[in-house]
Every structure is written in structure tokens, then in C-alpha cells.
């Protein structure tokens, strides 16, 4: 019953979306307030209906309703509750439903929180949101119905791919989609502004919170996915330049550029046309990302289905959305009034450099990702573009970006003084040099690139702190005055410092794991001792363990360093009984500066086990840095100027 209700609600949501996509737009063109006012209740109704559909599917999963095809294919009655719920989006149909649910959530959020938006802008924004909704709802109803019933109800389900039964991956798709779909807000605002023909600092201020929230969610999503790959794939790789990863990186890069260029629109009323274009491109890349992954044209664990009907629908949707918005841009952008002037050496200039580099990097990733498809279509052979390509193109573009990242915030708007800014970074430069020398002394100079990398990491981290110290006048003013200044510092400034410093930490983690990793692969018997990087691991025994829906061989290792016991590591070799799949479950010992990573393989007939041991220095900083970037985004989101409407609303409420 719930299932049919969910299906019906989805069809109703399509009808509501059609109304929301047309009438408010016509109303805005005619200046008819009542038609425009229709948008907000329609957006809230959409959330109600799509939310109901989503809840119906979750319900089917939770109660293990095996009369629903989607549940049969992706669930099993013995699966833990968390993975029953995450199974909802662990497949094509369900993940598309999650996508529209989040879209409706954002639409309703504008309807509720956007009370101070001009009526026409709000109507247009919601109408554009609804257009996206129409496309996706049609796609789901026509090609990817998650509510399909079965005539013959099986006794139990097929279970979810065990690789996806993991806490990291349970939350990876929702965060990723919050990011992808969050950029639809920037897109809708951009299209509305193009229709209106006006972009001003107020517009930038309205868009900013949505972009920030989307960026923070996407950052969290990518970090979770990378963390998952790190501990499930059994050897500690966290990024593979796999097309699916690139699909999420491209909107992130473009979104990062958008985040920075919209500052210029807000503060200086410049770079408007470019910012609009970036908003369109960022969301287009999110769409391309969703579909590259879902259409099955790329081979990966994420590709759920290879269905030509879906592929064709997707292609149409992409051409209409991207082609249409770019056409509108070409027609209307020349009419946007150009804004303030600035000298090449200035905060604006630095942000232009940031945007240039990020846009170029996005382009290289796009080329690298699509080139194999392109050659395949031309029948010119099957190729794969792997890490060497991206190391040779993406990394060189990131180096100047990180160098400039520290200098930019120290330049004033309009016209800056580069020697002056550099002079204030003397201490940071000195500490960076010290870090590089220390790294050389500790790890040797086999890899010059690693030293450059660690230098960049230190420069970004220390530079971010130096800029903060500069702002609060640390050591320059009396402590009390510095404290007062720090208190008065806008949250956005704190957010920037956290995010920039976080990137520095993350770079250090990347360098540590790619350049200084130690590895041992060997056959060991219980009683043997393995040592790596000063740690000693004694292989005690292997026991058989029963999990909820798997059985496992669990290895017991005691870890010590210089005779001092540090604890136990228990890697598992799991066998999922329903799917018949094996999964390596690595054991990781994390400390402040490194990870000890242990995976257990198969036993040979003589009773010796394949054991893989890795020492990953600095890797924990990668996730810590990611967390700081997300935190920085959220901190910036709470800035007073983005809540400018709040005090006024409160006055209304007070008697």
C-alpha cells in the first residue's frame, strides 16, 4: 500500500513541478503578484510529495518488503538496519529518488527562508528549480521506477553489494548529492538573474549561503568516499583518478572557483558575467557527474545499469539543461552591466588568478575523463587515462594556486602592493623553509616532488595562520587588543583561515601517503613477527567469527614499538553468504602522525597467510584537513552578513 502511495505521490509531484515551472515564470514576466506567489507553496507541496515517496521506499526497505523489485535486488532481511536504509540509495533507482528529494528540499528551503527575496526573483528561482525537477521526475517515472512490484514474491532478497555495506559509504551519496544538488541553487539564481538582466552585490549575497552549503557538503562527500576507498580496498589508496571520482572532483573545482568569484561580485560588483557562467558550468558539471556515473558508460563499481533507454533520456536531459542555459547566457550576458575596475595586482586580481587556475584544472580533468569515451566513439581504440596523465597536468596547475592562495588574502581590494604583502609573509616563508629542511633530514631527498609538496603544505598552512595573525595584530599589538580583534573578526574570515589551513594539512597527507609509504607483502604463519618502520607486529592467531550477514576469518596481531605494547590489530577476511562475495576488512591503527594499515589475505595449503602491512605517514592529516575545510565552509555560513534578514524578522515577531 505504502509503495503505491509513494508512486502516486511521485506522479503528483511531477504535476506540481510542471505548475511551479511555468505559472510563476509567466507571472514574473507580467508582473502578476498572485501568479508569482504560487511558487512558494508549490515548492513546499513538492517537498511534501517527494518526501512521501522517499519515505515509502525507505519503509519498503526497513520492513524488507520483497514484493518490491528494488528491495529484492538490493536488500536482505538479515542486513543491519543502517544498511537497509543506506541500501535505498545504493542503487540507480533509489539514488535518483534521493536526488529529487534533495532538490525538493532545497526548493522548499528557498520558499521558507527566502522571505526577503524580491518576489519576482524568488518566483523565477523556484520556477527554474521546478524545471530541473520536471526533468528528473520524468526520468525516474519513465525509465527508473523504484516502486516496481513483483508478481512472484521471493522469500528473501539478493543483498546489497558488501563493498557498499559500510558506514563511510552509507553517508557518502547523501553528502555528494547535497553538494551536486546544492549547486542547482546557484544555477537557478544565475538563470533567474539572466532572465531579469540584473546582477548586483545583493544577488551575490543571496546566492552565497547556498553555494557555501553545497561546497561544504560536496567536500564532505568526496572526503568520505576517499576515506572509504582508503580502508576498504585493502591497500590504502585514497584517490585513483577513476572517472567516477573525477566526476565529483570537477563540480568541486568549479564550485570552489564560484565560491571565490562570487566574493568579487559581492564586495566589488565586478566579474559578474563570469560568475554567472561559472554557476551554470558548476551545475552542468554536477549533472554530467551524476550521469557519467549512473549511465553506465564508465566502468566502475558505481555503474549500476547499462540501459540504452536511460542513456538516451540522459543525453536529452543534458543537452536541454546545459545547451539551453548556455544559449540563454549567450543571449543575455552581454546586457549585464560591467562593474568596478581593479588593478592586476589586487585582491580581485588574485581571485582572477585563482579562478583561471581552477577553471583550467577543471578542464584538464574533464578532458582526461572524457577522452577515452571520445576515442571509443571514433573507434580509435580503447584507452584509459590514469594517474600519470593527471599527475602531469593537474598537479602543475595546483602548485601556483597554492602559492598564490597565501598571498591573495593579504592584498587589498582595487590596488595592491605585492612587495608589501610578501614582506609580511617573511616569517611564513622562513617556517616553510625550515619544514622542508626537516622533511629532507627525516625522509631524505629521493623525491624532489615530495619536498616541493611538503613545502606547499607548510606554506598553505602557515600562510593561512599568518594572515589571521596579521588581521588580529598578533604580537604586534597588546594581547588584550588582539583578543578583542579576534572576537570582532567576521566568521567568514575565520572560515577562510580554517579552510585554507585545512587544505595545507590535506596536502601534507597526500604527500605523505604518495611519497613516503612503506609496504610489506609476505606470507606469515601464526607466531611470526613482521616489522615495518620501527613497529613490530606479532601474528598471534586466526579465528572464525560470525557477523550478521557474513562469516569472517579474523587475524589477531599484537603491535609494539621498541618493546612497548601498543595494542592489537584485527584484520578480517569476510565472506558475505548471500552474495557469495569476499571482502577484505583492513585493520588500521591511527596515531597523530601516521597510520599502520594491515590486511589479511588468503591462506595457502601449508597454513601460511598472505599479509599486507603498510605504513602511511601523515595520512590522518588528509581527513583532518578535509574536516577543517568542511568546518571552514560551515563557519563561514554562520557569518552575520548572510543572516542579515534574521534581526528584521525577529522584530516582526516581537509584539
Amino acid at each position: 500500500m505504502f509503495t503505491e502511495l509513494g508512486h502516486y505521490a511521485l506522479i503528483l509531484a511531477l504535476a506540481v513541478a510542471l505548475v511551479q515551472a511555468t505559472l510563476p515564470l509567466i507571472g514574473a514576466a507580467r508582473g502578476d503578484g498572485r501568479w508569482m506567489a504560487l511558487a512558494a507553496p508549490a515548492a513546499i507541496a513538492q517537498l511534501g510529495l517527494i518526501g512521501l515517496a522517499f519515505a515509502a521506499l525507505v519503509h519498503a526497505y526497513v520492513v524488507s518488503d520483497f514484493s518490491v523489485l528494488n528491495v529484492v535486488q538490493n536488500s536482505h532481511s538479515t542486513k543491519p538496519l543502517l544498511y537497509k536504509i543506506s541500501g535505498v540509495w545504493g542503487n540507480h533507482e533509489g539514488s535518483m529518488l534521493l536526488w529529487v528529494t534533495i532538490l525538493a528540499l532545497f526548493g522548499a528551503a528557498v520558499a521558507v527562508f527566502g522571505q526577503l527575496l524580491p518576489l519576482a526573483l524568488k518566483a523565477r528561482v523556484l520556477a527554474v528549480q521546478a524545471m530541473i525537477g520536471v526533468g528528473f521526475l520524468l526520468f525516474i517515472l519513465a525509465t527508473s521506477d523504484p516502486f516496481q512490484r513483483l508478481d512472484m514474491v521471493p522469500f528473501d532478497g539478493n543483498d546489497l553489494n558488501p563493498m557498499l555495506q559500510d558506514p563511510g559509504l552509507a553517508f557518502h551519496p547523501p553528502f555528494l548529492y547535497l553538494g551536486y544538488v546544492g549547486f542547482s541553487m546557484a544555477f537557478s539564481f544565475a538563470i533567474a538573474a539572466l532572465i531579469e538582466g540584473r546582477v548586483d552585490p545583493a544577488w551575490a549575497r543571496w546566492v552565497r549561503p547556498w553555494t557555501l552549503a553545497a561546497w561544504a557538503a560536496l567536500t564532505a562527500g568526496i572526503a568520505l568516499g576517499s576515506w572509504w576507498a582508503y580502508y576498504t580496498l585493502g591497500w590504502g589508496g585514497w584517490w585513483f583518478w577513476d572517472p567516477v571520482e573525477n566526476a565529483s572532483l570537477m563540480p568541486w573545482l568549479a564550485g570552489t572557483a564560484l565560491l571565490h568569484s562570487s566574493i568579487v561580485v559581492e564586495k566589488r560588483d565586478a566579474l559578474k558575467s563570469w560568475t554567472i557562467l561559472l554557476a551554470i558550468l558548476t551545475f552542468s558539471l554536477s549533472l554530467v557527474g551524476t550521469f557519467l556515473v549512473r549511465s553506465g558508460i564508465l566502468s566502475s563499481v558505481h555503474a549500476f545499469a547499462v540501459d540504452p533507454a536511460r542513456g538516451v533520456f540522459i543525453l536529452w536531459l543534458l543537452s536541454v539543461a546545459i545547451g539551453g542555459s548556455l544559449l540563454l547566457y549567450a543571449l543575455r550576458a552581454p546586457h549585464l552591466k560591467a562593474g568596478g575596475l581593479f588593478a592586476p595586482i589586487s585582491r580581485e586580481g588574485a581571485l582572477v588568478v585563482n579562478n583561471m587556475l581552477l577553471a583550467s584544472a577543471t578542464a584538464t580533468v574533464l578532458i582526461g575523463t572524457l577522452y577515452p569515451l571520445f576515442l571509443d566513439v571514433l573507434n580509435a581504440g580503447k584507452v584509459s587515462v590514469g594517474p600519470p596523465f593527471f599527475n602531469a597536468t593537474f598537479v602543475p596547475l595546483m602548485i601556483p594556486l597554492v602559492v598564490a592562495m597565501v598571498v591573495g588574502p593579504l592584498l587589498p581590494w582595487k590596488r595592491g602592493d605585492l612587495p608589501g604583502a610578501l614582506a609580511r609573509l617573511g616569517v611564513a616563508a622562513g617556517l616553510t623553509a625550515v619544514t622542508m629542511i626537516a622533511a629532507y633530514w627525516l625522509e631524505g631527498g629521493q623525491s624532489a616532488l615530495a619536498l616541493v609538496g611538503i613545502g606547499l603544505a607548510a606554506w598553505a598552512f602557515i600562510g593561512a595562520l599568518a594572515e589571521w595573525a596579521e588581521r588580529v595584530g598578533l604580537f604586534r599589538l597588546p594581547a588584550a587588543q588582539s583578543l578583542a580583534r579576534a572576537r570582532a573578526l567576521p566568521r567568514a574570515a575565520w572560515g577562510m583561515t580554517a579552510a585554507h589551513a585545512g587544505l595545507g594539512l590535506a596536502i601534507a597527507g597526500m604527500v605523505g601517503s604518495s611519497a613516503w609509504t612503506g609496504e610489506r607483502i609476505l606470507l606469515a604463519r601464526p607466531g611470526d613477527t613482521v616489522s615495518l618502520a620501527g613497529y613490530e607486529l606479532k601474528f598471534e592467531s586466526v579465528t572464525l567469527v560470525d557477523g550478521p550477514n557474513y562469516t569472517a576469518k579474523r587475524g589477531h596481531f599484537t603491535v609494539s614499538r621498541g618493546g612497548a605494547a601498543l595494542g592489537v590489530l584485527e584484520p578480517e577476511q569476510r565472506h558475505y553468504t548471500v552474495t557469495g562475495m569476499d571482502l577484505t576488512h583492513a585493520a588500521i591503527r591511527t596515531s597523530a602522525i601516521n597510520d599502520l594499515y594491515l590486511a589479511l589475505g588468503d591462506a595457502d595449503p601449508s597454513g601460511a597467510w598472505t599479509v599486507r602491512l603498510y605504513h602511511h605517514p601523515l595520512v590522518p592529516w588528509l581527513w583532518l584537513g578535509g574536516l577543517m575545510m568542511v568546518g571552514g565552509g560551515l563557519l563561514s555560513l554562520t557569518d552575520r552578513r548572510l543572516r542579515i534578514g534574521a534581526p528584521r524578522l525577529r522584530q516582526h515577531a516581537a509584539p
Binding site: 585493502g234 553506465g296 563499481v301 575596475l341 577522452y371 584507452v383 584509459s384 602531469a392 590486511a599
Partner: protein
Amino acid sequence: MTLKKKRRLYILLTAMLGLGGATALVLTAFQDNLVFFYSPSDLKERPTGGRTFRLGGMVEKGSVVRGQGTPVVRFSVTDFKNTQAVVYTGLLPDLFREGQGVVAEGKLRPDGLFEAREVLAKHDEKYMPPTVTDALKRASGSASEGEHAVTTLKRN
């Protein structure tokens, strides 16, 4: 030239510099960083020139031999027409099985053995890498045998 035009020119120059640099990087990277895909039959037809490439096909049933006392594994990759022997040191991915699709990246040794640096099996049971499906189809020519093999294996 007015100040406005001059400043626009600066932005334009930065843009050109960025895009030009990126293009140059991409073009040089394409020179030697592309990894081509070969099926065992392709290997007979076109030489690899000592470069790294990806070998794809099915792991031949009964071909997997694990080393005694060392984590060295030998197996054969087949497209049901030709077969290529592979040697790999390390732990095989969880999804590696006899009779299932596999993609391995590495180089051909002078003795004709394929030395895999990495074995990829990142797909699940229901799923077959498109490159492998395609390689099997090509090897069987237009006959339906390959298709049949593909569908049977998919069902497994």
C-alpha cells in the same frame, strides 16, 4: 587605450596564459601517459612497443597458480580465442575469480609473460567491465558464441 580596456587586456592575458599552459600540459601528457587496452587477440595483431597497457578478458578456469612461500600468482587471461599468461606479485582483489572478467595493467616481459603491476576487479558480480565484454565479442567475430559466453558469465 583606455584604463578599462587595458585592465580587460590584463585579465584576458591571464586567461590565455592559464588556458595555454593547461593545453600544453594536456598535449604533452597525452604523448606518453595514455594506457591502451588490449585483449589477448589484440596482442597477436598489434605490438605494444614495450609500453604499459591494460590487458582484459576472462581469467581462464583452472589457470590460477599461487606461489609456494611467496605471494606470486600466475594466471591466464583469455578471450576464448587467444590466451595470455600473466604473473602478479601481491594480493589479488576480492572480486578476482576464475572464470570472471579481469583487467590487469602492466607490461609485456621479453619472455612473453605479462607482468601485472595492478589487477583491477572493481566491479561486482552482476557487472562486467564494458571493455572486457567488447573484447570477448570482438574475439568471437560476428558469431553469437562470444555473446553467449558474455551472457552466461554475467548470469553466473
